[in-house]
Symmetry: C2
Subunit: 428 residues, 2 copies
């Protein structure tokens, strides 16, 4: 039997505890599949005493994750603390510096420091892997970076935040409003006490930025992701979308064209009867289009102890088997800084606005849209409530520039009582 | 730049031509992602002159695939000829013997000789990889063998034959009968001139046997797959299933329990609104359940030039990166010969039979079912046609043993005019 692969674990929250459980439950299986025994040597967490449902006595303890990362008695650091900077970043840097492989579930850290960390890991000849950072238990990093690696990737698209999808699904299914469902999601542990990373789209945008880098061979460009949360989506929007044959999803889309790399994480309308439209609850789904393979679709649990720990350990097994390739599928130095392209393609949009209930208002709005080059496919106006009449427009495909022109102009009209909201209708 | 990885291709049909196209189209991409240039050195096929839409002048030609496999100027043999024995097997054996890695799309060969070939490859220290053998462009071998490798796999299930799914989809959608749609599938190139491997379930059973070995760490046991084709499925069955909320799919299910390994590739009823029920046309889908990850779902093109070549080249890139692990995820010597378990769990069944149209017939049939322990949930009898009355039963969950007892007894009754057909209702 070859030497065991020795692990140090920084962070013993949900994911860390799950990893310990897998290692303890599946020792034989992991040894057979990894070609060598997998052993935990040392661990680190904020609180030593906390009950985690796993025995930790056999492992060395470190209070400081950086001290853990610098130990000389293990081979792979599992960074499962989270946080884009601070101890997580310091521990990963220390691990790479001391010649250890790194497996992390930390999308925020990689979205900000992925390029630098990939360069450092390559220079040191160690692996930097992050299957668990994107779409939980779905092996999408592996599918995109290895399984579809012979393709020119055209588009990566998906629902990558279970909290948002849970909220939107429940709003649609029960007619419950945003605040009510968010509170419930927090009670069930789906949403953090500070939900802004989730509902604001930032968490999902982190993930999209990683998949884009991997798929397109570009440098991680999180700042280039056009990000919009779900907090402005109302029950009205959900009901109108449903009525027109659509569901609203927080949808990530990354695509490469001559104009450059387009990255969006925004609420979009997708057909009710599409795979993404049907996606309910906390499940994640990712669709990848390649020039030879065509469209492939991946679905599964996007978070949780078991799924995330499964992804972490898949990376560990790859390292055990000797897979020490570059983090983003190609040498870090070869990753290009692609120009940013905003909404390169034309799309239909759903518009919602509140209009002053007076003769001629609708004509003025319609004229403004037309003059900006935005053509209307469907329009609905409803009974007014206290002088304000809600109006819904579905446009024909239009460029984002024309739409922005129209939105700007409408926003400045006295007939328009609020800033109009626009949601893209995505082709899936 | 490190040494190029040199390929020899045996077989230049649809898949082989697709592989040549990828190598010629994506030279830079493959070099970046594989960490070294990928070069075709020599090729072999039955007809040298045939137009394949790709330039082959730069490659050495061999008439004999075994002579190709024995050349000493390349590193990886791509076996893309097909056929469970004969030249394909001989070429693979010659390649392994002469120290070459093997990538194959040949499910029939591996279903029969996978264990011996895996042992030979391991003994010689070369890779034997077969992503293209199962579910075309979907990287399911990678997902199951690597992405979910930290899990105890509980069940692998899927629709893995595009031809059958196309036929069943078209029968359902257009009310066209089996023979008509089969002829159309042959015209479109979806089905072979001899369709028996497809519609008989054998092709899909080959694939299931490979996934089962990979998922459960067992020796490939193709003979242990309970296989039934779709040729007995009628429009009547499809219409009744639809009416009761089900679609009929040629569904593969492999699961491991205390009783042993259960492998089935049979037409089953699945809920209309499930992911598998909605699967239309030639698309494939596979669902994998693991003890930590839960259920994950994979969908994409199951055949065709681009998708299959994409899968072949993913294996080539893995070899370029140095991934030379055992073929079935664990050392071949460690793969166990699991006992065969037939239909270990209880299930509901759809029964169709033709009854003699006479007083008391139905009572006798119902009594026979009851006495064998099969309880009826729904029953429909229709206007008789020339003395024969078609009858449809949906049972409550029952063991396969009880069902077989009932079927045997019904088959022997003079009131039963044909051998009753039973389709399992699968829980998805």
């Amino acid at each position: 039997m070859t030497n065991p692969l020795r692990l140090g674990i920084a962070g013993l929250g949900t994911v860390g505890a799950g990893v310990v459980k897998i290692v303890q439950t599946h020792a034989d299986l992991l040894a057979a599949r990894g070609g060598r025994p997998i052993r935990i040597v040392a661990v680190s967490a904020r609180s030593r005493g906390r009950e985690r449902g796993v025995a930790l006595d056999a492992y060395a303890w470190e209070d400081d994750p950086v001290a853990l990362a610098r130990r000389d008695d293990f081979d792979v650091l599992l960074e499962l603390m989270g946080g884009e900077d601070g101890p997580a970043k310091a521990a990963v840097e220390a691990a790479i510096e001391t010649g250890k492989h790194v497996v992390t579930a930390n999308k925020a850290m990689l979205a900000h420091h992925g390029q630098a960390m990939a360069e450092a890991a390559e220079a040191r000849g160690v692996a930097l892997r992050y299957e668990a950072a994107v779409a939980g238990g779905i092996p999408i990093v592996k599918a995109l970076g290895e399984g579809l690696a012979a393709n020119g990737i055209r588009r990566v698209m998906g629902v990558m935040n279970g909290t948002c999808n849970y909220i939107l699904t429940e709003m649609q299914a029960r007619g419950a409003d945003y605040a009510e469902v968010l509170e419930e999601a927090q009670r069930l542990g789906y949403a953090e006490a500070d939900p802004s990373f989730d509902v604001g789209g930032v968490d999902a945008a982190h993930k999209l930025a990683l998949l884009a880098a991997l798929g397109f061979g570009t440098r991680v460009d999180f700042a280039g992701v056009q990000t919009e949360g779900i907090d402005r989506v109302t029950l009205t929007d959900i009901a109108h979308a449903e009525d027109m044959g659509y569901r609203i999803k927080l949808l990530g889309v990354a695509s490469m064209s001559e104009a450059g790399l387009e990255q969006r994480m925004t609420p979009c309308l997708v057909p009710v009867d599409s795979a993404l439209g049907r996606l309910a609850g906390v499940t994640n789904a990712v669709m990848v289009e390649g020039d030879f393979v065509g469209a492939t679709h991946y679905e599964g649990p996007g978070a949780g102890e078991g799924p995330t720990a499964s992804a972490v350990m898949a990376d560990v097994l790859d390292i055990a088997r000797g897979l020490i390739g570059p983090a983003f599928g190609a040498p870090a130095a070869s990753l290009t800084a692609a120009p940013r392209a905003a909404d390169a393609g034309a799309a239909a949009y759903y518009l919602r606005m509140s209009l002053h209930d007076a003769p001629g208002t609708l004509a003025k709005v319609a004229a403004a849209l037309g003059e900006e080059g935005v053509s209307i496919r469907q329009m609905r106006q409803y009974d007014h409530e206290g002088g304000a009449a809600p109006a819904i427009f579905m446009t024909h495909p239009t460029s984002r520039a024309a739409l922005d022109g129209a939105l700007g102009r409408l926003g400045g009209m006295k007939e328009c009582l609020d800033q109009p909201m626009a949601l893209r209708v995505e082709t899936v």
